[in-house]
């Protein structure tokens, strides 16, 4: 059993592991940002700081044979679903040891062993693909589900509309999760979208829909469990709008100067790590000492990972000619 599968099953009913994974994602993104700033990562990055509860919540509910179609803002989901920090960072740094051999980059993480479909850098690109995976499950009479995760801005693309309609009419086992982190690039979602609650758009397809607090992993799990149960038992798709917040800028060096003053601070009060931590402490599952230790272990772990990745080999010129068609496999 490979590393990703183990990492995935580690989340099974293990609340402390959820918190641990969220810590890992937080630290991963923090270091990714620094590596980008220092020029060690080229291209672009899209961080998910503030959105960790949703990522881990999803991963903790789904089975490893379920699949997820996510986006360029996919580091957190990929780590949550099981991809190792090493494999993810190596990909982001263009190393041969990355999940796509260093040929994909930050926007394209993938791991078939835990159902991470190659994340798409095209808005709306992953939604029909998730529906298609669900179609396969339906025909194959499997109880697997497919999940599409996308942003608030993505609810304005044609593929969103077409896919929800198709999924509804075919009652596909797919769950649409709109990670409404308030911004699409540099635009607050209300600049581009005339309604406040995006989940209501599912009414256009007679599809069950709801909004949830995406900062609280327990809420995420409850909502998702219900949707997954419905999907697995032939009840068709659901649209869940998770209200989250993008603590960082959109990508690269964006510092989000367009944010109204105080907005970030307001949301930081509900930082998903804080929220989870409070739950766990209240439940007696964690102490502040334990947490401090976990944090420093995570920091060390990510530092060690970075070190390893920096020493990893680059793909060779030959590698970039592989895996284009079946014939070019090796």
């Amino acid at each position: 059993m490979n590393n990703s599968v183990e990492r995935r099953s580690a989340l099974k009913d293990n609340e402390v592991a959820w918190f641990e994974r969220m810590l890992e994602i937080r630290e991963f993104e923090k270091q990714t940002n620094l590596l980008f700033a220092s020029g060690s990562i080229r291209g672009t990055t899209h961080l998910c700081v503030g959105q960790e509860a949703l990522a881990v919540g999803i991963a903790s509910v789904l089975n490893k044979d379920d699949v997820v179609a996510a986006t360029y803002r996919g580091h957190g989901l990929a780590l949550a679903l099981g991809l190792s920090s090493h494999s993810a960072l190596a990909e982001i740094m263009g190393k041969a040891t990355g999940c796509a051999g260093g040929l994909g980059g930050s926007m394209h993480l993938c791991d078939s062993s835990v159902g991470i479909l190659p994340t798409s850098a095209i808005i709306g690109g992953g939604m029909p693909i998730a529906a298609g995976a669900a179609l396969a499950f339906q025909i194959q009479k499997k109880s697997n589900v497919a999940v599409a995760v996308f942003g608030d801005g993505a609810t304005n693309i044609g593929a969103f509309h077409e896919t929800l309609n198709l999924a509804a009419i075919w009652k596909l086992p797919v769950i649409f999760i709109c990670d409404n982190n308030v911004y699409g690039e540099y635009s607050r979602f209300n600049i581009t979208t005339p309604i406040e609650d995006l989940h209501t758009r599912a009414d256009s397809y007679d599809m069950p829909n709801l909004k949830i607090d995406g900062m609280d992993i327990y809420t995420v799990r409850t909502a998702l469990e219900a949707a997954v149960e419905r999907a697995r038992t032939g009840g068709g798709p659901t649209l869940i709008e998770a209200k989250t917040y993008r603590f960082s800028g959109h990508s690269r060096a964006d510092t989000a100067p367009y944010r109204p003053e105080g907005e970030l601070a307001e949301w930081e009060k509900r930082d998903p790590l804080k929220v989870t931590q409070e739950h766990l402490i209240a439940k007696g599952l964690l102490s502040s000492e334990k947490i401090a230790k976990m944090i420093s272990e995570t920091e060390e772990f990510i530092q060690a990972t970075i070190k390893k990745v920096l020493n990893d080999p680059e793909p060779t010129v030959k590698d970039m000619f592989k895996n284009i068609l079946a014939e070019s496999k090796n």
């Binding site: 040929l103 095209i122 499950f137 896919t163 198709l166």
Partner: protein, 336 residues
Amino acid sequence: MPALRFRQAIVAALTDEMSADPTVITFGEDIAAAEGVFKATEGLLATFGPERVRDTPISEMAFTGAAVGAAMMGMKPVVEIMFIEFLGVALDQLVTEAAKMRYLSQGQYSVPMVVRASSGSGLGFGCQHSQTLENWVAATPGLKVVTPSDPQSAYSLLRASIADPDPVVFLEPRILYAERGEVDFNLKMKLGQARVLTTGSDLTIVALGNMVNVSKAAIAQSGVSADLIDLGTIVPWDRETVLNSVRKSKRLIVVEEAPLSGGWGSEIIATVTRELFSSLVSAPFRITTPDIPVPFNGSLEAKFAPNAADVCRQILESMKNNSVPDAWWVSEGVAK
């Protein structure tokens, strides 16, 4: 061997692949209950049932993308895009998603899907329903692009396309749907392998789809001794067969239903020129449509795509003095 209509050969290929392989499914607009606007999916719903044969909403992006996702999960979806123009609302899923999946997953996922789309002029459907548009998909590493020219190649190439482990765009010249021809169900054809339909010494003609039939008639009319190569697959095209033929004939004409500017034929010309420049006795050239939208009017549309008479004229003129004849619109003085 039975004589089937082109559309029936499509049905037969789908039927045989679906019978042989339970993972083959098909969907598209009005392809199930109504059996397709071109009746190219006749009987499939009755034979294979509503789980595997489905009508879709008018949502090309969603259902093309659904084929990508289903293919990644082990199915072999065949989707019908009724007119290739409709890929204009769905191209992203084909070029930017399907074609990249194997690469982006380094072989963890593959996308064995087929997009069937009718293409081309000749039926009076006007300029938004008569284009060929191979150029939308032809420069896409990761995709294959196929066009049959008769019922036999429709049957054999569609089977090969469905069996192929990568995404294939299968373009059906809609002018051919009603045409009949004998079909040997045991004849296998490989993608990327051209057919040499007539052999001769003086000239190589490379054509695709209905232009194969036009070229065949033109060769007969002209009396020249020519290799007629039915490319069958545009991407990847059969360089060996074409180069071998031109090595022998030393002359090349590509007959193409696509605009003069930007069509796929220039790819053949550029490659042959590169490889065989010094052995060519005259300039290889293309016979194409003019750079105009497809006109509706019947006599004009008949003139729009290369026809046998004009291809024959150009063959004879080019053979006479090893020169490149003018396109008809130049020789007739109607356009530059």
